[in-house]
């Protein structure tokens, strides 16, 4: 044979067959070793919850860019199979990857990645764009000129927390920290590593037994005090968090200007939406429970803290589900509730409309989606997830609460 003709080192057949084995082991080691090394506990000095919270509160807004993985294990029924690609509805279940760029102030871009698609939300001061590559459609949100002046005044007065339509670790952590002081134990767990960075873990455990939330864990970067990961654990699932948003890769450096800029691409359908600024430009000084505005008509609140149940009356659920935007008017306090830009964006996404602002045909059969997500109960229809329950009664009331479904049915 050819390779035996020359005097050269020859391996025995057994040794030759060992080579693929060695290669396989080397590959496995290259994959496995970093995976085993990363979850090691970070070596950080101990801090109290009070210190950690104040560090977070004192942290300057920082430019940030990175990859965020969002995972929902809400125990909802599987969504219809035709829902693929980068669609915000995918956030209801499963795992989604997002990219985040923010300059720490007024400009940011969040992209929800699909395999061959992308849904982008670009925010630049008083205006914002969403772009869906699947539909090649741009939605441009602006304030009317009078509101722009008010917005500038507000922005100058208070460095408002940068909002985003898609959940980022920062936005989610800000919401949790505001709630933390009430009705919950706040402790610091052993340090961990998130996205390769040492992080403290702040644990918020509700003291209330009536709620579905077992604890909320916020991982805070030790160096910059920026939130890196938020996990919400349900009482019904102790194995994995029901909701998790966290960086898998993060750098606290200013993003490239070309990333934060947006201009509608040629050929895309563009929809202009003028968003009304809320009618409460004066920020309440002594922000607290006493300053809470009166509830709109048709909204009732029962219970307190984590097991609060909110009841909305006389809602045209069937119309809403059918994509009839006019039925939005039947939602109590819709004007006030939708005053925020984020909520308006959200409603726009679920209630599509054509260029003139008239309600259009929903891109997805929302009625089918509604039937899929909810189950029939004697009182009406019930949406039950590991963190939130929603009961829609046949007489037009909607009960929402982070409580077991049975508690809602008893309240109805």
């Amino acid at each position: 044979m050819a390779d035996t003709e020359r005097p050269r080192r020859t391996l025995s057949p057994r040794a030759r067959w060992a080579v693929p084995g060695v290669v396989a082991v080397a590959v496995a080691a290259a994959v496995g070793v970093p995976a085993l090394a990363s979850p090691g506990d970070a070596d950080l000095p101990q801090v109290s919850a009070q210190d950690l919270l104040s560090r977070v509160a004192a942290a300057e807004p920082t430019p940030v860019q990175g990859t965020v993985v969002y995972t929902a294990r809400l125990g909802l029924p599987e969504l219809p199979a035709e829902m693929t690609g980068a669609d915000p509805l995918n956030l209801l279940g499963g795992s989604s990857t997002l990219r985040l760029w923010s300059d720490g102030a007024e400009r940011s871009r969040v992209s929800l990645l699909g395999a061959t698609s992308e849904y982008s939300v670009v925010h630049d001061g008083a205006q914002a764009w969403t772009y869906s590559s699947t539909d090649d459609a741009v939605t441009h949100y602006t304030l009317d000129p009078a509101d722009v002046a008010r917005y500038q005044a507000l922005a100058d007065r208070a460095a408002a927390a940068p909002g985003a339509d898609l959940p980022t670790p920062e936005a989610a952590a800000a919401q949790v920290l505001a709630l933390a002081e009430q009705d919950a134990d706040v402790t610091v767990d052993s340090p961990t590593t998130v996205a390769g960075r040492d992080a403290y873990q702040l644990v918020v455990s509700p003291t209330d037994d009536g709620t579905l939330v077992s604890r909320v864990v916020v991982a805070v970067d030790a160096a910059t005090a920026q939130p890196l990961r938020v996990q919400a654990w349900s009482t019904s699932d102790g194995a994995a968090p029901s909701l998790e948003v966290g960086f898998t890769d993060v750098a606290f450096t200013a993003p490239d200007d070309s990333v934060l800029a947006f201009s509608a691409p040629a050929g895309a359908t563009t929809e202009e939406v003028v968003v009304p600024l809320p009618e409460t430009p004066e920020l309440p000084d002594g922000a607290g429970p006493a300053a809470a505005p009166a509830l709109p008509d048709g909204v009732a609140v029962a219970g307190s803290g984590w097991s609060t149940v909110v009841t909305l009356s006389d809602v045209d659920v069937a119309g809403l589900v059918g994509g009839d935007a006019a039925s939005l008017a039947t939602v109590p306090g819709a004007e006030r509730v939708l005053g925020s830009e984020e909520a308006q964006d959200l409603v726009q996404q679920f209630v599509p409309s054509d260029g003139e602002g008239n309600p259009g045909r929903p891109s997805l059969d929302t009625t089918a989606l509604y039937d899929q997500l909810t189950t029939a109960v004697p009182e009406g229809r019930l949406l039950s997830s590991t963190l939130v329950s929603v009961l829609i009664t046949d007489d037009g009331r909607v009960l929402v609460g982070s409580v077991p479904a049975d508690a809602l049915r008893a309240a109805a």
């Binding site: 390779d3 693929p20 590959v27 990219r99 590559s133 090649d136 993003p255 947006f262 895309a268």
Partner: protein, 296 residues
């Protein structure tokens, strides 16, 4: 088949009879004749022509239906083609990648060694004073060259047809940003290179199967089955733990080149998975080919 060409060619036993011919020269001769064989084989030329036909068909269909109610429908990237011919390259690769390209790769790499064995020419080939390991390397390089030719056949005709039918304009990325033509062409070239490199793992798998059997059809079918099974496993959410290591999992990550900021980590991990498959199955093919008794 036409293995006689190799035997009588410059790399054949008569020319190399004095063992004096330096190894690199013998290797280069063998590679040259193997490339001539693979790229000149009529079956392979028909495959390449068939692949080149895909963008022509897509482009023609889109050109005919561009003003009808059917325009703008279909899988990803198809809707952009009528606005920018450059996207015909991407759309054609997107449509060929799940099945047509693996099929061609399977035919070329599955045939590499098993084809010689079934034609009875393998034992003559082994008379060439080149070690079996190098002979396998020549076979692998020829199969990789065919894979590159297959991807380029789709890409080049896609570019020509797209430019002729729809023109080449500034590229709108998935993120909604617009980049100039020059950068757009570079990004599409990145996609073509990524798709080509994504197929290297399958070439290694096919080469290994080809050393196992004397029935080339078996090796070809097994190679295609591997890519199909990999796609099926990739669609089962219960197996998400093994998804990142699957042969086909990162194939469509070429979309990364169409995002506003290319994450090289994503591109790199896709290529690293292919490198791992090449290393494991290349080593398996080497172990098998250098230890097997060749009887035909």
């Amino acid at each position: 088949m036409s293995r006689a060409e190799v035997l009588d060619g410059p790399g054949g036993p008569t020319a190399a009879a004095p063992v004096a011919a330096p190894a690199p020269v013998a290797f280069a001769r063998l590679l040259r004749s193997e490339l001539r064989l693979v790229l000149g084989r009529r079956r392979n030329l028909v495959l390449l022509a068939g692949l080149a036909l895909v963008p022509v068909v897509i482009g023609t269909v889109l050109l005919v239906t561009r003003d009808s109610a059917l325009s703008g429908q279909g899988p990803a990237f198809l809707a952009q083609v009528t606005g920018n011919g450059l996207f015909l390259v991407v759309a054609a690769l997107f449509l060929c990648l799940p099945f047509l390209l693996p099929l061609c790769i399977g035919i070329a790499s599955g045939d590499a060694v098993a084809g010689e064995a079934s034609a009875g020419t393998l034992r003559y080939l082994l008379v060439v004073p080149v070690p079996r390991g190098r002979l396998l390397a020549v076979k692998a390089l020829a199969a990789l060259t065919f894979a590159a030719a297959a991807v380029l056949a789709v890409a080049v005709t896609g570019l020509l047809v797209g430019a002729a039918f729809f023109g080449v304009h500034d590229v709108v990325l998935l993120s909604g940003s617009t980049v100039p033509v020059g950068e757009g062409v570079l990004r599409v070239a990145g996609i073509v290179a990524y798709v080509g490199l994504s197929l290297t793992g399958l070439v290694a798998v096919g080469l290994f199967f080809s050393t196992l059997t004397e029935v080339p059809v078996g090796a070809m079918a097994a190679t295609v089955v591997v890519s199909v099974v990999s796609t099926v496993l990739d669609s089962l959410p219960q197996l998400s733990a093994i998804h990142p290591g699957l042969l086909t999992h990162h194939w469509f990550d070429f979309a990364e080149f169409l995002r506003v900021q290319v994450d090289w980590g994503v591109v790199g991990s896709g290529l690293a998975v292919q490198a791992a498959w090449v290393a494991v199955f290349g080593a398996l093919a080497w172990a098998r080919f250098t230890t097997a008794d060749v009887t035909s």
